[in-house]
Symmetry: C2
Subunit: 123 residues, 2 copies
């Protein structure tokens, strides 16, 4: 379980949740949900991610069993990335949460304005 004990925040599920909701993890899952991509295609689709960070993100998701990496020994060689069955499930869930968050931004922004106004009124 995720709550209930002093070690709750350190449980293995915590690490996996971090991998799939990380800044680049969410975006990689979103791109691969649209189909198989080569490394350079993932990078272009996301934008703003360094080669090193993307390689690290893909490797973490591959090790967790969410991403499948397929190297083609052709000339020039290339590597395809796609979602496993487990990865597709994860991607759909994470992406639904991300889109919900995106839709609620106006409400969140209004709440922040109200909060800041109340705070400066008290100050």
């Amino acid at each position: 379980m995720l709550t209930g004990g002093p070690d709750a925040a350190m449980c293995p599920a915590r690490g996996v949740l971090e991998h799939v909701t990380s800044r680049w993890g969410v975006l990689v899952l979103g791109v691969l949900l649209r189909g198989t991509h080569r490394f350079s295609e993932v990078r272009r689709a996301i934008g703003g991610v360094s080669e090193k960070m993307l390689a690290q993100t893909l490797q973490t998701l591959e090790r967790d069993g969410f991403v499948r990496r397929e190297a083609h020994p052709v000339i020039p060689p290339h590597v395809d990335y796609s979602l496993t069955g487990l990865g597709e499930e994860a991607a759909r869930r994470v992406w639904a949460l991300a889109q919900w968050t995106d839709e609620k931004i106006p409400e969140v922004m209004a709440a922040r304005e109200a909060y800041d106004a109340a705070k400066s009124a008290r100050a």
Copy 2:
């Protein structure tokens, strides 16, 4: 939108997603999903969180409009925390993802073992 441009990872939804999926954010939402709690009750229910980190997490979630803070000017004074309507929606979604992750831990662990074994076989 969350993907598609160079600023994708910097959009406002990113920040909100981080607040609700943060180590303590997830656990706070989970506790408040069970009902209104005082600060000390939230802290006890989570376990392992410092007073400062919990106060910061609650404040961030309050400012985003997910958590309602109600101070009771009685003796001794106490403060109640509960979810707003928006917060309850967020909590249900985040919690469903966290629980899914928790259920899939055996599969993730098996994937990691296979990955590490393949890697050391290549080395």
